[in-house]
Symmetry: C2
Subunit: 341 residues, 2 copies
DNA sequence: ATCCTGATTTAGATCGATCTAAGTGAGGAG
DNA sequence: CTCCTCACTTAGATCGATCTAAATCAGGAT
């Protein structure tokens, strides 16, 4: 019967029990070729018998290295965020790193606290999607930590921090091209997103420019910003529809926003023939939504992978695979009228 | 200009630079009341000036304690899993712990590897939703680590490991009662879920018993198990509908399964009047799905909170709040015919 | 017999913090 | 003036690993 109060087994215990030195046990545990096969086997057997577990914390104190990477995410319930995390994790674990996701719930305060904790834990690096209200000063504080990190989604120009994001100018253009070209819309709008979200600014700007170039009118009443949740979108759309019909074509800031808008349109009796809706992101479930949602795919999982590669390059671990996100591509479906209902 | 090659600043550097001892600096960093105000302030100022950052890893090596808790999750892209994590995280951070989510992608091998890593990192505890094919031997291996942990969703009887889960017998009964009582269905089915998923077995059993008691017939062709993703459900439902009409009422293993089923029904032209569909979980987006999904709410976030409290009780940190999950409650909406379309 | 080589093994310092038990000094009581 | 508190401060051991530089040893060459 094991003694409740006994101390945890350490390398020294295994060594003493076998009459060898700590250093030998250490070499065995790290799989070094310097020890003889006989020694290795007896050490492993004894370690197992005593119930020894390696203390990674002590080891990384000495080696000054750590294979944990922190993923600081604003909202894991958001499928876009979850998919990005998945991609990053895939690359990191593939190269022997360990991805730990922490959630800030869009609170800058929580975010800074969690980042500081990660620094104190001496993690190898951090991948972060900044919370909405994150300022340049917050990013500067992170930079001061000397910890390698990569920022997603929101750019901080002149901060010198590596950034990975979607090609927002291209996205705006693709959206306009499809709505005005394929569907012949003369009156269109960009709907959703928070003004604090960097992509919204760039996407909307290129949207306006492309609209002007195509001779289409932008409906300004629909361009008021709001928080990007599905329920927020539904409420905002419902309010706008109370005041009149929608523009002929709408590009939504995200698929989540499109879901909310489509629900509102449908309850008011509007169909894709009345109003063509295109989302951005192309989440997995967009194909199964009713109506199926036309969307500009940004491949969140691949973005996550790219992010991880950029971070690893920063850290000094070589990777293969692209260091830039893929080009956005439109997937036409029912919500814009491309497929029958 | 800071020297690239200089060593990191440690407590000793701050102490020397100020002419005090390491112990004093240590006391200041931990906010001890034993140091005088004057000393505290000069230490803090000097630490800041030198760019000192506390080394949590070294501290927990000495104190033998760690405030990191690992959440081992099978699939963060699944919103149910994300909501549970959110709840757990809320309670943990509220009590000074630090929740790190790691993803197993339903791979038992990855899961065991990640668990071992967490043990080696000497985390305070683990909350785990086991991957589907996790066996009793895998759980036994985790138990051997002596690390406090709590299991969600899948029970392992006689393993002695604390378990938190939904009241599956109640869920089956609520579903049958609504379908046969409110909607008068005489032919009903339980649809979806993997046989390896413990809840599926219990829910289906109580579903059958309640159906028999209510004098309703269970459609066996619809009870074939499958993996619980939304696309899997869509495909399985489509295949079944190719062979004939659906039963009058269906209880789905999860909201995700209900989404897939509803899409299939709709494409075949069936309405809630033909087939009443009820989901389980009541995810946030179920209200906005088309049709809005009737669902038996299990309150995933609260389950996550409960889990965290149970783990903390295990660790020895007192918490207030319930240690058992809330009762499931039905939220009737459009998909079963309770609300107009 | 002595020296050299290559393969193993090891003692002692070290990573950066905390803990214990003892030391210091100012101010008040006797 | 001495002694006792009380508030603060500290030296040295310790947590559990790794690293460096040196020791040991068997076998072959000289």
């Amino acid at each position: 019967m094991p003694n409740e109060t006994r101390r945890r087994v350490r390398m020294l215990d295994v060594a003493n029990s076998l009459g060898v030195s700590r250093a030998t046990v250490s070499l065995v545990m790290r799989g070094s070729p310097l020890v003889s096969t006989a020694t290795r086997e007896s050490v492993l057997a004894e370690a197992d018998r005593l119930g020894y577990v390696y203390n990674q914390a002590a080891a990384s104190l000495r080696t000054q290295r750590n294979d944990v990477v922190g993923l600081v995410m604003p909202d894991i319930v958001n499928p876009l965020v979850a998919e990005v995390s998945l991609g990053a994790q895939e690359v990191l674990t593939g190269l022997g790193y360990f991805a730990a996701i922490v959630n800030t719930s869009e609170s800058v305060e929580t975010q800074q606290r969690l980042f500081r904790t990660l620094v104190q834990q001496r993690v190898a690096g951090v991948i972060i999607i900044p919370a909405l209200r994150t300022g340049a000063d917050d990013v500067a504080e992170m930079s001061r930590s000397q910890l390698p990190f990569v920022v997603l989604t929101r750019a901080f120009p002149d901060s010198g921090v590596p950034f990975v994001g979607t090609d927002d100018l291209m996205i705006g253009r693709i959206g306009v091209e499809h709505l005005t070209g394929t569907h012949g819309c003369r009156e269109i709008a960009y709907f959703g997103g928070n003004l604090l979200a960097t992509p919204r600014v760039a996407r909307e700007r290129s949207f306006r420019e492309a609209a002007a170039a195509a001779g289409a009118v932008c409906d300004e009443t629909w361009s008021a910003p709001f928080d990007a949740g599905i329920v927020d979108a539904y409420q905002a759309a419902t309010r706008l529809l109370d005041h009149g019909p929608p523009p002929r074509g709408i590009l939504c800031h995200s698929d989540q926003v499109a879901y909310g808008l489509l629900k509102a349109l449908q309850l008011k009796g509007y169909t894709p023939e009345d109003c063509s809706v295109v989302g951005i992101d192309d989440l997995l479930q967009s194909q199964l939504w009713t109506p199926s949602v036309s969307s500009i795919a940004v491949q969140p999982t691949e973005i996550g992978r790219v992010c991880a590669r950029v971070l690893l390059a920063e850290i000094g671990t070589p990777t293969d695979g692209p260091l830039a996100p893929p080009q956005p591509v439109l997937h036409p479906r029912t919500s814009c009228g491309c497929e029958p209902r």
